[in-house]
């Protein structure tokens, strides 16, 4: 039982970066922009969050810097895809390379080459009084760090905004049929800019979680594909936050299981265990892809007065 509790607690903890990144990608895609630069934005967020926390000694300033950098990277994506209307797949790759290269470069420049990598204290578990004492569920859900709680709260909030508010309606209209939305007076470009940047903030936060709550350090390409996995989970979640959260848990579980098997000294080479989340991603995509129809105008640039 104690083992199951710790495995499930680890599942939620390890799912958190992907939850943030995937929720960010949902907002972005619902407005009709396919942002494949998530991995690069996450890396920039992870670096900025770590650097901020290390330099100022304040974790929250680190978080702030991380989401600010995420927003800036996303602003670049928005400019390319909304204002210049370039191919979103290619501009996403550009953002990915830029984020990958820039985060590694800045890390080397700011911290130099050291034998022992710099670390920070990082976010610690903050048990919620009373709730954390509930048997079984308490240690799984309520003895986590504060960013985990934030992810759990953000998911229903996003459902509310997307499905119960006028803004949510405008976002979905923009992604489904920008021409109709435009005719009805929705500012398509503004909505798209807003959603891409909001999405970037969440993606950046996903990166911050990795460097300030999980590993408490930064290294080159530390996301190792989590940004792309987040995009895959959006397909799995069919652009709905709850389903997407569940998908992220699936991957949190995969990471937790892999760590547990490694710690246990399972007679499987650990490189093969490390493959597991990637194989799972392909399997999940292959199962859901055909039925997963995203917003109708996803990835299509919008230009007024063009058929």
């Amino acid at each position: 039982m104690a083992f199951l509790v710790s495995l499930l607690a680890a599942t939620i903890r390890l799912a958190t970066p992907i939850v943030f990144a995937a929720l960010g990608e949902i907002i972005t895609e619902l407005a009709g922009i396919l942002n494949l630069g998530v991995e690069g934005i996450m890396l920039m967020g992870a670096f900025a969050g770590f650097w901020g926390a290390y330099q100022t000694g304040s974790l929250w300033l680190g978080v702030l810097l991380g989401i600010l950098v995420g927003a800036l990277m996303a602003l670049l994506m928005a400019f390319m895809s909304v204002t210049l209307r370039v191919d979103q797949v290619i501009s996403g790759m550009g953002i990915y390379f830029l984020g990958l290269g820039l985060s590694s470069f800045l890390y080397r420049v700011t911290f130099g080459v050291r034998t022992v990598p710099p670390t920070i204290e990082g976010f610690k578990e903050a048990p919620i009084p009373l709730l954390s004492r509930i048997p079984f569920l308490g240690p799984i859900l309520f003895q986590q760090n504060i960013l985990v709680y934030l992810a759990i709260l953000l998911t229903p909030l996003l459902v509310l905004v997307i499905h119960r508010t006028t803004l949510g309606l405008m976002i979905r209209a923009t992604g489904e049929n920008p021409r109709a939305a435009d005719t009805l007076g929705v500012n398509v470009s503004l909505i798209r800019y807003l959603c891409v940047v909001l999405g970037g903030i969440l993606v950046g936060l996903g990166g911050v979680v990795l460097s300030t709550a999980h590993l408490k350090m930064f290294w080159e390409n530390m996301t190792v594909g989590r940004g792309f996995i987040a995009v895959a989970i959006v397909y799995f979640g069919k652009w709905h936050p709850y389903r997407t959260f569940a998908g992220a848990l699936l991957f949190g579980g995969a990471y937790a299981l892999q760590l547990w098997l490694q710690a246990l000294g399972a007679p499987v080479p650990h490189q093969l265990l490390l493959m597991f989340p990637y194989i799972l991603t392909i399997a999940v995509l292959a199962m859901v892809a055909r039925g997963a129809k995203g917003p109708a105008a996803l990835g299509v640039p919008y230009k007024r007065g063009e058929a």
Partner: protein
Amino acid sequence: MRLRIEERPVPSPLTRVLASIVAVFMALALGSILIVMAGANPLVAYRALFYGAFGSVHNLAETVVKAVPLLLVGLGITIAYRCKVWNIGGEGQLIVGAIAATWLGLALGWMPATLLLPLIVVSSFLAGALWGGAAGALKAKLEVNEVIVTIMMNYIAIYWLNYMVRGPMKDPTIAGGFPMSPLISPAAEFPRLIRGTRLHAGLLLALLGVVLTYVFLFKTSWGYRVRAVGANPEAARYGGINVLGSVLLAMSLSGGLAGLAGAGEICGLHHRLLDGISTGYGYTGIVVALLGKLHPFGVILAAFFFGAMVVGMEAMQRTIGTPFALVIAIEGLVVLFSLVGDVLVKYRIRGD
């Protein structure tokens, strides 16, 4: 006189080439800001880069050595992107090609080179083609997003490589154990082209690849179909073109060319399998293809340019300590500025 902006009817090839060159210069200009951040003088840094890439016969040969895998991967990416299949799996496809080449070079070392070399070339092409073709099949049959699948397959290939050089293919004679395979048979080595340098016959293979890619894309009906699907899949389907087959073909050829790059790195250069058999060639190859405007001849120039960037940046890191990761950031900037350039050449400024 009033200036106004109007759309060009058709951007000429010359303006498009010019746009690529401007994109490179813009990226390097922004890169110089990063160099300043690293505490170096950009002029000194770029001079070190230039000397490192072109300063001597040896340096120039190294530039071409790095350009060879970039050229092969870039050609593969060109075929895929012409079909609008977004392969970012060049890294993984190169790695499985390298594993296949090493395995044959070790297992069939008794064969004469005249038999073994063609066998290795064909096998590593097939290995890459299968790795890429798997993603192509998932896309064609199940509409699975190939961007994500190919990235996932890169990581699978990387961990598989890490496992091979520590497990089944590990050189038992190296005590303590650097993770690497034994040396392949001399019969499996590509000949060197210039004495005293590492320039190897993989270059000829890559140049042959340029010709074959050109012929395939522009002179065969298969290539025509691949391009038609890329231009407009609906219209292609309506016109009776086998869209699924074209996607699968484009992805397989794309992976196959990357697999060849893997064989080149093993047989031409390292002669054994290592963890770092590819230092991001699969990713840089994408930038090479895009900068080369998805044309085989353009890809030659772009591959040479990025070969020089990689060699030059290594020299820059050695001499003035500017981190090598700068080259990846500049790659991202080149992609973005190329896109901006494509938008700008659609317009021109006229004075009335």
